[in-house]
Symmetry: D3
Subunit: 174 residues, 6 copies
């Protein structure tokens, strides 16, 4: 029997990493590309946990890198599902950087990745509904439809005129 729904908390994945020399630019700060590599791994595991099957990256939303991360920092990635759409899942990933000896800790950035669940034959497979539990879960769940419309427009698969939810972008914070 197929599982119909799962709680958001069942998909939570934490991944701690150390910023090592080969992950840094000439100033010794963590490169964005390495961070996205780790985000993809953490997000993919969260998608596996929610779907119960292998999941592949379908898209990545806009990511901005605000502050540089010093060498030797501890990077804590936390990923969880926000909402499921038939065979795809939106995954929210938050990245915290901490330089422990320097007592510096901040949210480095966050991102939304979309993964598609894949069955044994490599075909897309239906995923359970995601049930929000916390207030944050609910906010993320509510925004998911709007972000999905933006994604479809940016990928050229939806006409802006049809994006009813997205129109709220001009009224609300995404």
């Amino acid at each position: 029997m197929e599982i119909k729904s799962k709680f958001v908390s069942e998909s939570i994945v934490v991944k701690n990493e150390l910023s090592m020399p080969n992950d840094t630019n000439p100033f010794g700060n963590l490169m964005g590309g390495k961070l996205m590599y780790w985000m993809d791994i953490a997000g993919g595991i969260a998608a596996q946990k929610h779907s119960g099957t292998v999941a592949v990256t379908a898209s990545v939303d806009n990511i901005s890198f605000k502050k540089s991360i010093a060498p030797g920092s501890v990077i804590t990635l936390t990923a969880k599902v926000t909402r499921a759409f038939n065979t795809s899942m939106e995954i929210y990933i938050e990245v915290v950087a901490e330089n422990i000896p320097a007592k510096i800790k901040f949210i480095s950035n966050s991102a939304f990745f979309t993964f598609v669940a894949i069955d044994k034959n490599g075909n897309p497979r239906k995923v359970p509904e995601a049930i929000p539990e916390t207030e944050e879960d609910q906010v993320l769940y509510d925004g998911a439809l709007r972000r999905r419309q933006l994604r479809l427009i940016l990928a050229g698969r939806m006409k802006p005129a049809d994006a009813n939810e997205l129109k709220s972008i001009f009224d609300a914070k995404i």
Copy 2:
């Protein structure tokens, strides 16, 4: 004396890679995270070429991964500047995947990265103007302002009401 402007073609960077076993998911297809890692390296070199200095990743726009890339494929990344904004540069990266023995070749995906030029002391540094040369260069140059407004709104740094250029998203293909 400071260089005032540079041609887009001066920044072109090509990076060929092979999809190796450790870059793949359980189906043997290239992971999105590894591809973004390579895109960040290629884009960063293009930004260095345009600015003449080290450049750090400031943001990555929405990327969608449409088709899976088979193991052993040749991945060709091509990066170039599209437009410069004071201390930042938008870089366009196109990824082509080719399975040579199977005679399969397709554009895997494309993305816009933004890099900030950094001087010796780690501070942002003014970059030359980017001069478009081809028709594609011009289209990319023209769309850069609109994409920049979308980025600022998504990062919460601009009010949608002020995004005059972006309003065209509802009329035109980005």
Copy 3:
């Protein structure tokens, strides 16, 4: 002012990894050496969290690898301090392996690592006491002295006759 004590829960570090092709033996199962590499990273971060400074590996206790871990498995490492001894900390690391599509999940193994806190000049530095909170924390705390005596004997730094705590090994499960 120096921090005198910290709760065990303040040091908890979770690290999720995927078993990738280069981490495996010819049967496709995760190599013990790669697992110990990850355990050392996770344990070192927990030791940094407890001590508030950089910490280096001083010793690793007996580890046994009971079941093989299939390719593509999700490896979840959880590390936390058990007890502090002047400048050193014993860290407990538990490893869970999960093959999500196959619905297989088991505790792969566990281990005790000892780390020494290091100050800016590379010298050992006093660490806070570790305060156990849960029942498991208390059991781990109580056993730490016995394990420390075994370590000192195995390293040739203590005479067995002086190991009062260790004698309990012949009565109790370590």
Copy 4:
């Protein structure tokens, strides 16, 4: 025809490595986890040489890291079988660190790993006896039974009361 026994010297494996930036902690010294990764590879090759088949890591005994290893050091790992037990082999690994320009050389640490020989179908397979040749080989051979009992007790597979050999731990150096 099955090989009944092999000399210890037939299994000797030497592995020289350089300590590279990504293998080091923030003080530039080699991380314990990387050293254990190399020890596992060297030990696994020695076990393959003795058994004539693939071998997987079953356990690692207590390892202590006494001195830090400077960046750029040459690490020389030497592994050899000490004694065979039906389908398993105890492997002794000694690690020497040498900073050649600084004329510093020392035994960094040593460890006992246990590997199990595996046949084509993934099942444990009988291994040849190991015949000690040098005085050191003989000492290692003689201590193997005692270490095996300690391992079994630590893994909860033997009652301390049954460990006749191990009782000598309270009289002799392991």
Copy 5:
């Protein structure tokens, strides 16, 4: 139908890399071994492009490393076929190193690799003729026979007395 010939330009492969900490010696300069690793990848892709199939490295000619490459440099490898010989192809690879902030750029070195085309069953496979287009292509094409004779002599597969082309080494620059 089999392709009989291909232009040299159809095989051109460009590969840009950054010199990262783990690729360098204790002076921070790029190690020759890492450069040869990248040359082999770039050359192998060029050989795939010319032959339309997988190609394996058969030999590498003398390479000399004249100048050290500073950390953070951009390494640009360019590979192309020079001449085809039944189932093998000679590939020319040129390496340019550029330290962009320091405004230093130079040809680091160049090399000739030979690859053999392999069919689906792992057997050597006939490759198309390579048609030189530029003056440089022609010079490289003309020298290929002489270099091939040197290779065969050095590999002990040809008697020097039979190397008619090679005798020109004593008259001309290779």
Copy 6:
């Protein structure tokens, strides 16, 4: 006081490696580029041992790859100095590949690398004479001058007419 000479045997370096998935081509066989990477490391350590200082790769002689190396094979690299020339050393490296379960073992290839000794300031530094001990050492020592002349001609630094030793190439096996 400066060391005037050292025995060849003092420089011997053995490096055992396993051929892992990421080191292989689509047929699963070890890539030439990875092998050259390991040869450079092994050769560089031998050069450090002979010179007592850091040494950088100056050139690599012709290498040919005769047989493919199966996945999971044990690769044994052995490096030693053959002859010293003022500030440079010729290093001979032999590579043996062994597929232990399949009972296949063969000399994969061999090569001559040249390294230059570097002092603390990054300048070339005089190295001790290399004293051959075995018959093989003597043969390698005797051929070193001839190979050096070939290297200088190939690098365009010597006129063929001046290469008295090299003329023997047309009479003798290199």
